[in-house]
Structures are given as structure tokens and as C-alpha cells.
């Protein structure tokens, strides 16, 4: 027995066979019909569609034998796929390649074989054969040969049609699954929207309202029906619009949910709303508006308590401080040296306590939205000079020089001047506290992001590690617990700065690293039309 050599493009041929997706599939009528026709036409008891795999031949269709497959080394078809037209063995007994083949010497006792390669694809790679086998020696007539070749072409065409049909079905299944999933998802989304008691507004990056859904309770948004197509700046109350646009910009820039809480008067009743703004596309965001009046009532009771306690603390403290001040300055008679020292200690501590209470009251007012900003065009060089002037005493005491830099940008900002000075004062006193004696603190202005103006306070202190940057603006956060004793201050200054800046529609930030000093900055919006330079 002489086994057939491998096909010259065996790997490509095996790939074409795998691509046909026929191996080990159930019988199919269109292939069964063809082997029956081949058997009738050739007058042979056996006909097969055999696929020649790497190590075996496998029968997609067969008539006259029972097996499904055999090893490749004994396969007549392994020879036939190397032939171009019809591969014919007229008598296996006299052919040295097959005389001792187990299918010749044993069942099914093959003497005659005629096979036509099944060639697929543009490269005409033979994946198997259509063949007719007989138990006696013989040969095919030219008509039978021609019929076998025609039937082989039919097999190939069927393979191609079958493959296209399979692909179409798979695509169709996928489409139906996707459509079903989309339908489910859409239904879920609708259910979610319907069940959600919150109101909803969808807005474009520039603030144009694209879509809205009213909340079940009283609407925060006046005249919501006519909002679509309008800009929030024109249809929201001014304070809401300012804060909303600021959070919208952040939501789109950061891809995170931005929240906003505010109080509006609806039908004469105070109504608290929470807005959650999240990007819903590259250029639009969704804002969910929830009524949080109930929750806020509780919070406000707490705030009122804080405010009352602070007030009740402040009144007696004021008297204590005043009395001590008169004592200290000898207004009610001279004091012995040690008594004077004790009075001074009492007075400075009373003052520190008052500072904390004032800061708490300020923060409470800010978080309750009770700070009324009187927004006017503010000249940056003037506020820098005022802030530097008001801190000069403290700076001199600490041996720190406050240097006001050039103001390269001439545009005024839209702000409450007294509050800007308060912000700068907080940042400056902070910078001075952490500056080594003999160093300088720089006060400067530069162009900020989004057409805003950036105010910077730069010191040469110890600097702050990156992981602490976000937390320094939190209430009562001092990096070193001993700081408040060592350096004074309440731990509320930066929290107040952040609240005040955000109330202006601005942002705060910090550039710092240990050993490199700190640059605290905040940005305020420029006056409309004043932000651009020609």
C-alpha cells in the first residue's frame, strides 16, 4: 500500500475545509440526493461525499456502506484530491497503491474507485471528493464521467449556498437578539423614567434645554413646558442658572456626577432641590432634579442649632473679650505684671474662639445660601492692593514680605469686592502662617480656564503632598493636628474660600509639592464681554 502524499497546499486546504463548516455535521438531504444520483448514474453500489481531514476522511453523505469515517492513510479519496479531473482506479487488485488496502482485502472489498475532487474558493482547493465505488473491476463511460463532474460541481455549489445561508441565519439571529435586548433596555429605561419621581432636564453643552420631564411634585422650574430650545441662563432663576452651568461644565469635563443643592420658593413655600448632573453624550448632560425638602428640614434644624449655639456663644464671649481688653490696657487701673500676663492669655484665647465662631457662622450662611453677593465689575489690581495692605501687619510680625505682582490681564471680574478681599485675606494669612521668616509670599493674577481670571497666592513654605490636595479645602482639616495651636487659625479658612469662590461661579485649586512651596489659586468669571482681548 502506498499512502497518498499531502496536497502541496495542505494547510490552506485544511483551512478551506474548516471554513466550509461541514465536518461532523448531521446528514442533509441535498447531499444525500446527490450520492444517490451518483450511485444510479454510475451503476455502483457505493457512492460517497468524502471530506479529507488532517488525519481522516469523513463522509458527509453516503450510500452502500455503514461507516462514517476512516483513517486518511487508507483513503482512496486522499489520492483523488491530488487529481484535477476524475481519479479512476479500474481494478484495485492490480494497482500497487491499493492491492493490499484493508478496504480492498476486506469489507467492503473495493475493486473499482472513481472520484472527482470538490474544489472550493478562488484557489480551487480540494476539500474532499464525490466518488463512486464498486466491488468488481470496471470503468466509467464518458457520459458517466461527465455526469460525475457535473454532480461534483453541484456539491460545491451546495456547499457555498449552505454556507451563505448559515451566515445569513447567524446575522439574523444576532440582529434579533440585539433588537430584543434594545427593546428590553428601552422598556427598562422607560419604566425607570416613569417610576422615578425626579424631574429631568437634558441640556446641551452651551446650556440649551433639549428635553425635560416634570417631577411628580411641584416643579422647581418655572414654566417648564416652554423650556425646550431655551438656554438655562434665560429660563432658570439667576442663581440656579449660574451654579447649574458651572456644574454642567464640570460634569462634561470630568465624566462624573456633579451634584448641586439649592432652595427655591414654590407657591410661597421653601422647597429644596437636589440636582445630579451627568454627561449623557459628548456634548450634552442629563440633570435629575429631586425634591429633598424633607431631608433638608432636618439638616436645617441642625444648622439653626449651630447658628443659635454660635450666637449664644458669641454674645458672652464678646463681653469677656471687651472686659479683658479694658483690663489689659489699664483702663480700670494698673495690674500686677503676672495678672496682666494672665489677662493677655485670656484675651487672645477669647479672640481665637470668636474667630472660630465667626467662621462657623460664615460657613453656615454659605451652605444655607444666605450670603448675598453684590456682583459688580471688580478691578483686580485694586483688590490685590487692598488685600496686601490689610494683611501687612500680620506679615510684618511673621517677617514675611507680601509682594504684589503685575496684572497682565486688564479685564475686570464680576464679583463681590469685599468677598474677594476676604478670600485673598484667608489665603494670604494661610500662606504667611506657613512661610519661613524672611521669605516672601507672591500675590498675582493670570489668565485662567474658560475665560476666567486666576488669582494666585504663592508661598515658600513646606508644601503639601499631592494626596492631601483635595482635603485641604475640607472643614477643620489641618494637615498636622498641632497646626491650629502652633500657627493659629480655625481650620475653616480654606473651606470658606472654596464656598465663597463657588458661590461666585468660580473654582479653587492648589499646585504644591513637599519642599516646593504652595500655590493656592482661584478663578473668577470675567465680566461679560470683558474677558476677550482684541
Amino acid at each position: 500500500m502506498i499512502p497518498a502524499p499531502l496536497h502541496p497546499r495542505e494547510d490552506a486546504r485544511l483551512q478551506a475545509l474548516a471554513d466550509a463548516e461541514l465536518l461532523d455535521t448531521p446528514p442533509e438531504a441535498m447531499f444525500d440526493d446527490i450520492v444517490h444520483l451518483a450511485s444510479y448514474i454510475c451503476g455502483t453500489p457505493i457512492a460517497l461525499i468524502s471530506l479529507v481531514d488532517r488525519e481522516r476522511q469523513w463522509f458527509k453523505a453516503r450510500t452502500g456502506i455503514d461507516g462514517h469515517e476512516s483513517t486518511r492513510d487508507v483513503a482512496f479519496c486522499a489520492h483523488a484530491i491530488l487529481d484535477n479531473g476524475l481519479f479512476e482506479v479500474q481494478d484495485a487488485h492490480t494497482d500497487p497503491r491499493f492491492a493490499d488496502n484493508p478496504f480492498v482485502t476486506g469489507a467492503p472489498f473495493v475493486r473499482f474507485y472513481a472520484g472527482v475532487p470538490l474544489t472550493v474558493g478562488d484557489d480551487a482547493l480540494p476539500i474532499g471528493t464525490l466518488c463512486a465505488l464498486d466491488r468488481r473491476p470496471r470503468r466509467l463511460t464518458p457520459e458517466q464521467t461527465e455526469a460525475m463532474q457535473a454532480l461534483a460541481r453541484q456539491v460545491v455549489r451546495n456547499i457555498e449556498v449552505r454556507k451563505a445561508a448559515l451566515r445569513t441565519k447567524a446575522l439574523n439571529d444576532e440582529l434579533q437578539r440585539a433588537a430584543a435586548a434594545l427593546g428590553t433596555s428601552e422598556a427598562r429605561l422607560q419604566a425607570l423614567l416613569a417610576a422615578n419621581p425626579d424631574g429631568m432636564v437634558r441640556v446641551a453643552r452651551d446650556g440649551t434645554v433639549l428635553d425635560r420631564k416634570l417631577s411628580r411634585d411641584r416643579a422647581i422650574l418655572p414654566d417648564a413646558q416652554h423650556m425646550i430650545g431655551q438656554n438655562v441662563a434665560d429660563c432658570f432663576p439667576p442663581r440656579l442658572a449660574r451654579l447649574f452651568l458651572q456644574q454642567l461644565e464640570r460634569a462634561l469635563a470630568s465624566d462624573t456626577v456633579q451634584t448641586l443643592e439649592l432652595q427655591e420658593t414654590v407657591d410661597g413655600r421653601a422647597c429644596d432641590k437636589e440636582l445630579r448632573i451627568v454627561a449623557s453624550g459628548p456634548h450634552e448632560a442629563l440633570a435629575l432634579i429631586r425634591d429633598v425638602t424633607e431631608r433638608k428640614l432636618g439638616e436645617r434644624a441642625k444648622d439653626a442649632f449651630v447658628a443659635t449655639v454660635s450666637h449664644e456663644l458669641r454674645t458672652p464671649l464678646t463681653s469677656i473679650r471687651g472686659s479683658l481688653s479694658l483690663l489689659e490696657h489699664g483702663m480700670v487701673g494698673p495690674l500686677p505684671e503676672e495678672a496682666l500676663e494672665m489677662v493677655q492669655i485670656s484675651r487672645t484665647n477669647a479672640e481665637r474662639l470668636l474667630l472660630v465662631i465667626n467662621d462657623i457662622l460664615d460657613l453656615e450662611k454659605l451652605s444655607a445660601g444666605q450670603i448675598d453677593l453684590s456682583l459688580r465689575p471688580v478691578d483686580p489690581p485694586r483688590v490685590l492692593a487692598s488685600a496686601a495692605e490689610s494683611i501687612r501687619g500680620m506679615a510684618a510680625q511673621a517677617g514675611v514680605e507680601v509682594v504684589v505682582g503685575e496684572c497682565p490681564v486688564g479685564a475686570p471680574v464680576l464679583a463681590d469686592e469685599a468677598r474677594v478681599i476676604q478670600i485673598l485675606n484667608n489665603l494670604l494669612s494661610n500662606a504667611i502662617k506657613f512661610s519661613p521668616r524672611g521669605s516672601r509670599v507672591d500675590l498675582s493674577v493670570e489668565a485662567g480656564s474658560c475665560g476666567r481670571l486666576r488669582f494666585c497666592v504663592t508661598d515658600h513654605g513646606p508644601g503639601i503632598a499631592r494626596e492631601h490636595h483635595a482635603r485641604v479645602f475640607e472643614r477643620f482639616h489641618q494637615l498636622d493636628a498641632s497646626d491650629s495651636r502652633k500657627r493659629g487659625g480655625t481650620g475653616l479658612g480654606l473651606a470658606i474660600v472654596k464656598s465663597l469662590v463657588e458661590e461666585h461661579g468660580g473654582v479653587v485649586g492648589l499646585d504644591s509639592a513637599p519642599g516646593h512651596g504652595s500655590k493656592f489659586w482661584f478663578e473668577l468669571p470675567c465680566c461679560r464681554g470683558g474677558g476677550e482681548r482684541p
Binding site: 458672652p316 463681653s319 479694658l326
Partner: protein, 132 residues
Amino acid sequence: MSGARVIGKVLLVDDEPDIRRIGQLSLARVGRWQVAVAASGAEALEVAARERPDVILLDVMMPVDDGPTTLARLRERPDTADIPVIFMTAKVLPHELQRWRELGAAGTIPKPFDPMTLPDEVRRVLAAAEAP
């Protein structure tokens, strides 16, 4: 300061005894003025008529007659109508300051006050009110 009023006597009106006492000491010892005190709006009218102070420091938040009411009463009486009145209050937001001016106060001194600088504050407010 040539046109500034010379202060000899000050009336301090406040319902809080501690504040009244500290203010009194401040005005007397730091300011070196004669000081009269009153604990209510009604008492203020009586003391003002009797003592004829050069300036009245009037607390805004008082029970019964508050600062603005007391100011109006003082203005109604010929013998007290021309005495300058300075409000003393913690309410010093811009719109509040505006309101005190409209009520006819010469000015406002924010509370809490520093007793060591209170007399200077009084002089400053009066000078500003009399400036053309």
C-alpha cells in the same frame, strides 16, 4: 477736623447690662467723655431729654422699643431732635447699612465693638456724617 463737633457727653443705650458696662467704661476711660447710660428705648428718651448728650449710641435690637422706633421718638421731640444718633448693630450687610442711613442715623458701628477703639469709631462716624 476743624468743623468736627466737640464731644463732651455720650448716651449709650443697650439692653444688655454687660455690654452697657463695658461700653460705659470704654467711652469714659478711653474716650474721656462724660457717659450716661439707658437700658431701654423709653429710658433713653428720658435720659436724653435730661442730659442733652452730644451723641447717642443706640442698640438696634432691643425688646419693646427697638433702635429704629426709639430714633423716631427722639426725632419727634424738639429737645432731642437734633442729637446725632449712631446705631450699634451686628447687622451690617450693605442693604442693612443703607436702611439705617435712610432712618436718619448718622452712621453705624458694627457689633461686637472693641472697647479700645470704640471712641475713635464714634469720632470717625461723626466726622464722616458732617463732611460735606
